[in-house]
């Protein structure tokens, strides 16, 4: 082995070792990105407080409105709620209460009771740092009135740093869970494969894993067929998947979070003709 090869190997192994020690390791293979980190290296959510208090108001007057939500009524039968665009947030999503799935816009029937809505807003500082803001609103679809009930901000750690496709994967943890936030370059329709019936449609994907490693339920997978481009009439048949799981073996000092983003973009090949037959005849 050449001296250069040995040096390259040593560097690679050092990088890998560092990854397991807590620093993120991102090997961007073009259309795939791989990131790993230990759980202890993730920032901890300050408090596992409920997103919404258990008692919701019976009714919110129409005159009550809160900055952060935009409500439209494209059809008399429905109201459409979106997050008000924040200039420093590259991705914003809205979801219905705690276990909803992030959407660009949420359509609700006015017959609903007051419901809690959560706006997820990713803020990136441009230097690899990021945070996730969760704003919980109480919303009355009948009156379109809303109240901001709670705001929480969680620091994030980049597990897959923003790369060529401008995708990035961040993570944080709380006492029992690891949260994986994938910011895509555009809105995707995606599923959490733990619950394939669920469909989110947003540039943010938020997977929640049990912090207990090696449990079958702890791993999650999102698959999203790319939506038609807003800028052109073209659609794409490809799909992209985020895979995240937590595992630990005897040798791992602590659980390892492994994350990958993979694009299904097809493969190519060329053929070289046989130069000759190696056998007589």
């Amino acid at each position: 082995m050449s001296r250069h090869l040995r040096a390259a190997t040593a560097i690679s192994l050092l990088a890998c070792g560092a990854a397991i020690a807590g620093e993120s390791f991102a090997a961007d293979g073009g259309r795939t990105a791989l990131g790993r980190t230990t759980i202890s290296a993730l920032p901890v959510a300050p408090a596992a407080a409920p997103e919404a208090p258990p008692d919701l108001p019976k009714r919110i007057p129409a005159a009550t409105s809160t900055a952060g939500l935009h409500v439209a009524r494209p059809d008399p039968s429905f109201v459409e709620v979106t997050a008000t665009h924040a200039p420093d947030a590259p991705a914003e999503c809205i979801r219905l209460h705690a276990n909803g799935f992030p959407q660009q816009r949420l359509t609700l029937a006015p017959a609903h009771e007051v419901v809690p809505l959560v706006v997820e807003r990713l803020v990136e500082d441009g230097h690899g740092g990021a945070s996730l803001s969760l704003e919980t609103f109480h919303f009355d679809a009948r009156t379109r009135g809303s109240v901001l009930a709670k705001t929480q901000t969680f620091p994030l750690k980049a597990v897959v740093a923003p790369g060529k496709g401008d995708e990035a994967v961040y993570a944080y943890r709380d006492d029992a869970s690891v949260h994986v936030i994938w910011r895509a370059s555009e809105a995707l329709r995606w599923r959490d494969m733990q619950f394939p019936g669920s469909i989110g449609h947003c540039a943010l994907t938020h997977l929640v894993l049990s912090a207990s490693p090696n449990e079958a339920k702890s791993s999650a997978l999102a698959v999203g067929s790319l939506m038609p481009s807003v800028k052109s009439s073209r659609t794409t048949s490809g799909s992209v998947r985020l895979s995240a799981s937590i595992s630990k073996t005897t040798r791992d000092p602590e659980p390892v979070l492994s994350v990958s983003v993979a694009f299904d973009a097809g493969e190519r090949s060329t053929t070289l003709p046989s130069k000759r037959s190696a056998f007589p005849g």
Binding site: S2, V208, L221, D252, R276
Partner: protein, 695 residues
Amino acid sequence: MTRRARSAMRGWCVLGGIAALGAAIGCGAKSGAAPVVRAPAKAEVSACARTTPGMTVAPYAAPMANGKVDRVREGSQVVLAKRGASTLAYVADEDDGTIHVVDLSTMLELLTFDAGGSPAQMMMLPDGRLLVTLRDRAQVKVFEPTGSATGAMSERCALDTELEPIGLALSPDDGTVLVSSGWGHALTAFDAADLGRKFRADLPREPRAVVVSDDGAKAFVSHAVGSAMSVVDLRDEAHAVRTIPLKGKEASPSRKHRLPIFESISKSAAIRRPLPTPDLEPQDRTSCQGFALAKTVVPDGRILAPQVLVESGDTSARTSGYGSVGGQASELPGVAVIDQDSNEPLAASLLVRDERAFRAKPERECLLPRAAAVHPVHGSLLVTCVGSNVVVEYDAAAAEPHAAELRTWRVASGPTGIAVDWAAERAVVWSQFGRTLNVVALGDTVRDGAPAEAKDDDEADAPVTRIALSRRPAMPKTADVALGRELFHAVGDRRISMDGRACASCHPDGRDDAITWATPDGPRQTPVLAGRLAGTAPYAWSGSGQSVKEHLTHTFQRLRGTGLGEHEVESLVAYVNGMATPPSRTTMAAEERAQIERGSRIFHSDAAACATCHGKGGAEPDGLKHDVESRAPSDMQAEFDTPSLRFVGGSAPYFHDGRYPTMRALLVASDGKMGNVAHLSPADLDALEAYVRTL
């Protein structure tokens, strides 16, 4: 001599007697700057030791878990070696019984030499000797570099092994060579220095790949059938074998799961956290197709075992096809992750989900994994998949790698071997059916921007370079048989099955999967095909197929395939009829031979009456159906076609519903219903069993 002539000459350098001729006419006249190998010490000198120190070929090295760069210690059909600055690929060509040498710098085939049999795997020892398992010869051939620039090798010796040697591995201290034997169901250890036999450990059916733990204390062995991996203690004198169950489960969330979004409207919950475990009703699945193993480097301590998890249906009920059918995938790919130190599989790695509906190209499912290797720096696992003809890259650090698929590459038909040239960022893949060496670029070659910008296949960059390798002029396989083999292994071919499974899914290597399936007729144990078809009509346990062709057509219907064309069916029949049979023993001790002869006499006696139905040598069944009081509750009928007993010794479990796990259990329990053994002494019973195992 012109360059062209010299090049042509190189191709003629076939080892054996021709090697000397090749050297004489200039094959490998150059010798590159290669590492010098010490002369063998006195203690090492044997018939198998190196005789030509100063060899020009050295084993390929890769980063290891301990941070050092060390040799690759697992066998493969593709072995990389360094010759000076060049990287050579040695390719085991099982069809031709040869070994090709390809220079990966020039992408040219340098040489092909005779392996002396059908090479299954190869592994290079630290001193450059090349070990080759010969599947059809019960031998490991030992070659050594001749010093030729072509990477030529000359034969040193042959080691006798159990029947059908396949897998190879070398212990971390370079002291022990391990050989798995498929039909011989054993792991045999040899001293790496003199290649003398050290010990033999008996294993369950159909062992294939072998890897040794980092501390050299145990060997992990995969099995093509049986839902388990074996762990052999290498240090203990008894060499105990422990079994790791690899059965899995399928999460079926779509059946009873309530969408959390509905739940959330009516309930107030705490901050978003893992959702309550949905009512998944995980369904048990057996595992199969354990042909490959790989050991992780980053993170270390994991054994990765590509496999397929099988849902064979509830055998207590009749179904409309083989297995549950009804839209459910009978076979799903998986990668089991074994903790190297605790020997325990990660639970998540045994859970699979049917994601076909969400995949752009479900026909590329890896349902016939055949070889695996890790990229030691990326921390990814590369698996070759026959039938779908792809190489799949997984995240090797994931709890369930099969759910963390990173990339796939199309390769030529029948990829059965792989090696990773990590320094050059490429994988070298041997496609046995297509007789092509694929060089897969692993670097950043495909995507540059959003996927929507990706080019069509034809106009994009070329991450896979294919090198067609030479072949013997007198190929025994005709075009029809080659087509039949392709069809037998075709995954995702709706003409054969609706859910994508191939013939080889249930008949790995033309044998059986050791699984009992729920069928419209009742429970049915998969029969061996290889070597059991000629002259054994009718076919199927019910005897419903009067010809192989008729039975195949019926099978496609049960698999809900749309059916093959006439020529394709004929080709498939030709392939199935001519499949390589499991090997038979050619030598045995006099005492053993006497016991088998005694067993033969019992088998053919009127008292035992085995041959009355199974015919002479168990290979000439009477073609009739009999009621041997074996009807299961879900069976449609009580009478079953008399099967051929060829190769019955290696095809447990037994009977149409797989009720008997061992041959002895079958012989004893069926007394009076199917032949008679009650009158036999234990020694006679031993003799009868020994004879039947030789059929």
